[in-house]
């Protein structure tokens, strides 16, 4: 006879799924973060605290007399979120950004930034690191392939499940969100002569995984007890807030975004290469082609492998393959990549890895169809068009980045580069602990 607990359904053990604690948002984490027991109770709590209610609470405190509880609110908007608002507002992306800025300021947000700047840092650091790893490839087995580090779902899966097979290969450059956190709570707060705990940093992002990233220990300043990012709200959550307050977009003014360096900054929105995920693959490819082989790459040709989320890019000269990179998005393709890693069969020097099929524009915090639990393809298509409409500017030629490297980081090779712009990964492979009961 099989044990009694399997014979009778009324004795069926209840499947404790940490999902239930948080209602909706847990189910919208990427597949990489969706396994049982991935998130601790504490993490679940911290993620659920990143809510509209929480932000409204902070805004409300600012309206009360107790000055000690007042905070300066800074909102950093991901460039992947702007196309969402462009489509929803029916405006071009630059106008949509200004309308969003007006709305946020009307709530009581003091500064609204575009995180493209922080992404620029991340790209430059990733480029540099790739070159260093490439030069080490013959005597360091962990040097290549290098995996990009901007996706928190991927990072978490690597740390928790894949462990040392993968983590030494992940680029140590901080993600755009993490660098923005640092930029706001360190550089900007100093410029404004505010201590970091007087700043409340809100990030508007395309996905829920970014909420988990915000609670990582690495981005917590234990001395000051402050987080680099206090709260992440998805594009969808902000839009919902606008609907709830019955905001009429036409009645919003066009308010230009702020700049971390004050008045001196772009008045025109620009974007990075690629198709909406900051283009790490494209930027590193072009940089490496130039730096390592003296080749100028103008156009990148993608070869689609088994599906749209597994693509290859190759640099050839005289029939010889010099570089081969891949973009691997989504859980199933990540499994193929990992399977090949275990066998030592990965031909790529760089892989851009993202949890979400379709990349960051398809993040579930904005691309999820309201009616069905699936990606709204028409919406994603429109967002891609809106994103592509922006002019491309390479981070190398951004004067603001140059200034910040000097004034904030104190040089491209300073000792601060590591602490401000780089991070570390932990190996926390969970042992598959046996449940008290055995399920046949």
């Amino acid at each position: 006879m099989k044990p009694f607990w399997d014979q009778n359904s009324f004795l069926r053990p209840v499947s404790f799924h940490s999902c239930q604690v948080n209602g909706g948002s847990q189910q919208l984490l990427s597949a990489c973060l969706s396994c049982d027991g991935c998130l601790s109770e504490e993490e679940n709590l911290k993620i659920s605290q990143q809510s509209l209610e929480e932000v409204e609470r902070v805004l409300a405190l600012n309206k009360k007399c107790d000055v000690s509880k007042h905070k300066v609110l800074v909102a950093s908007v991901c460039p992947q979120s702007l196309p969402f608002f462009a489509v929803k507002f029916g405006l071009d992306i630059s106008e949509a950004a200004c309308k969003l800025c007006c709305f946020l300021k009307s709530l009581g947000v003091h500064y609204v930034f575009d995180t493209t700047l922080a992404a620029g840092f991340s790209i430059l650091e990733s480029q540099k690191e790739f070159i260093l790893r490439y030069h080490r490839r013959n005597h360091d087995s962990h040097a290549l392939p290098m995996f990009t580090s901007c996706c928190p779902g991927w990072i978490r899966y690597s740390e928790r499940v894949l462990g040392s097979l993968v983590t030494p290969h992940i680029c140590t450059a901080r993600s755009p969100q993490q660098i923005m956190g640092c930029l706001v709570k360190d550089y900007f707060s100093t410029q404004q002569k505010l201590s970091p705990e007087k700043l409340y940093h809100l990030v508007v992002a395309p996905c829920f995984d970014k909420k988990l990233e915000a609670v990582r220990e690495e981005f917590y300043n234990s001395l000051l007890e402050t987080r680099d990012v206090d709260c992440v709200l998805t594009s969808g959550e902000i839009y919902y807030l606008m609907e709830r307050r019955k905001i009429i977009v036409e009645e919003l003014d066009l308010v230009p975004l702020d700049h971390v360096l004050g008045e001196t900054g772009d008045s025109v929105l620009v974007r990075h290469e690629g198709r909406g995920s900051e283009g790490f693959l494209e930027h590193i490819f072009k940089h490496a082609a130039k730096e390592l082989f003296g080749l100028d790459v103008h156009e990148i040709t993608y070869k689609t492998l088994r599906n749209r989320d597994f693509q290859e890019v190759t640099l050839e000269r005289d029939g010889e393959t010099l570089l081969q990179f891949a973009a691997v998005y989504g859980f199933r393709n990540i499994q193929t990549l990992v399977h090949r890693m275990r066998k030592g069969h990965v031909p790529y020097q760089l892989v851009e890895v993202l949890s979400c099929p379709g990349g960051c524009l398809s993040g579930r915090g904005q691309a999820e169809s309201e009616k069905e639990h699936r990606v709204d393809k028409a919406l994603v298509q429109q967002m891609e068009e809106a994103y592509s409409s922006l002019p491309v500017r390479l981070p190398e030629v951004n004067p603001v980045l140059h200034t910040l490297y000097q004034d904030w980081v104190e040089g491209q090779d300073s000792s601060h580069v590591s602490s401000l712009l780089h991070t570390q990964y932990r190996n926390q492979s969970q042992s598959h602990s046996q449940p008290i009961y055995m399920q046949w």
């Binding site: 099989k2 399997d6 359904s9 199933r332 275990r342």
Partner: protein, 331 residues
């Protein structure tokens, strides 16, 4: 009750352990078994007796729950509670571990090869169903990971003629999957069982699907004609066999040669049902053709019809034994 099941041989296959599953090779000459002793055994006939030809010992760290032969007979896949699926290649009488598929969070409950030989499906207590594709160079790629069930997935089975996959779960449902665009999706959910669905078996043409459950019934499902243009899969329960099994039905197997339906039950019995040929195919009628009450001394976990020799049936049990039976039709 017609006792037309006679014992051919009993094998002490996985001593001091459970025998979880048996599977015949495509040409019917070999029988693979697996069990709680973490081993896989390959059985073949020598003269009139079945003997152990080979033991695959070190492939898994925990119980091996199911084994499956590739359609060509050159590969064996094994699904284990150690969360891995091992692919073995047959080299004359021996098997060599070719590759290990990892990724499930916990116990893998089943593995199945598609009739094309290129696709392999697995399912797990982690509620997901995975499909891998293998190429001519034995390289594997993950095709999809689907999460349609809300509980442990017990079994996966491929349709015999179409690229269609079905899964059975502790959530009482059966899901049917098809490829849509560039990914696989659950296109139909078959509800009706009132407890865990343990196993599934398609008939020879794939028009009918048999399922068995902890609710002590076996259900027969029939594919309904597709809605015009939609291509949506729709299945209806056309028959429920109830009152025959006194405990959980752990396995069901449809013979592709004779149409006979065998079941493995927690009451230690093996039963064989035959379809009444005069009945309306839309409302099939099955009658009990054989009932071997004490087929084993403990729960029967699996039944498998030999694909080439009509009437030859293998069963295995928590008692660690394999039993080989001959089912003969009454005249």
């Amino acid at each position: 009750m017609k006792e037309s099941l006679s014992l051919v041989q009993r094998l002490s296959a996985h001593p001091d352990s459970r025998c979880w599953f048996v599977s015949w090779s495509p040409n019917g000459t070999l029988l693979a078994s697996c069990g709680g002793d973490k081993a896989i055994r390959i059985w073949g006939k020598e003269g009139e007796s079945w003997v152990c030809k080979s033991v695959l010992q070190d492939g898994h760290q925990r119980t091996v729950r199911k084994v499956a032969w590739s359609p060509c007979g050159n590969y064996l896949a094994s699904a284990s509670f150690d969360a891995t699926t091992c692919i073995w290649k047959k080299k004359s009488d021996e098997f060599e571990s070719l590759t290990v598929l990892e990724g499930h969070e916990n116990e893998v409950k089943c593995v199945a090869w598609a009739p094309s030989g290129n696709l392999l499906a697995t399912c797990s207590r982690d509620k997901s169903v995975w499909v891998w594709e293998v190429d001519e160079e034995d390289e594997y790629e993950c095709v999809t990971v689907v999460n349609s069930h809300t509980q442990d997935v017990k079994h996966v089975v491929w349709h015999p003629t179409q690229e269609l996959l079905a899964s059975a779960s502790y959530d009482n449902n059966i899901c049917v999957y098809k490829e849509e665009d560039d990914d696989w999706e659950c296109r139909a959910t078959l509800t009706g069982h009132t407890s865990t669905v343990w196993s599934l078996s398609f008939d020879a043409t794939g028009q009918k699907l048999a399922s068995c459950s902890d609710d002590r019934t076996v259900k027969i499902w029939r594919e309904c004609p597709a809605e015009s243009g939609q291509g949506d899969v729709s299945w209806k329960c056309v028959c429920t066999l109830s009152g025959y099994h006194s405990r959980t039905v752990y396995d069901v197997a449809w013979c592709h040669l004779t149409g006979a339906l065998a079941t493995a039950c927690g009451d230690d019995a093996v039963r064989v049902f035959k379809e009444d040929e005069t009945a309306d195919p839309e409302q099939p009628v099955f009658s009990l053709a054989a009932h071997m009450a004490k087929a084993h001394s403990q729960d029967v976990n699996c039944v498998a019809w030999n694909p080439k020799e009509a009437g030859l049936l293998a069963s295995c049990s928590d008692d660690g034994d394999i039993a080989i039976w001959r089912f003969q039709e009454e005249d």
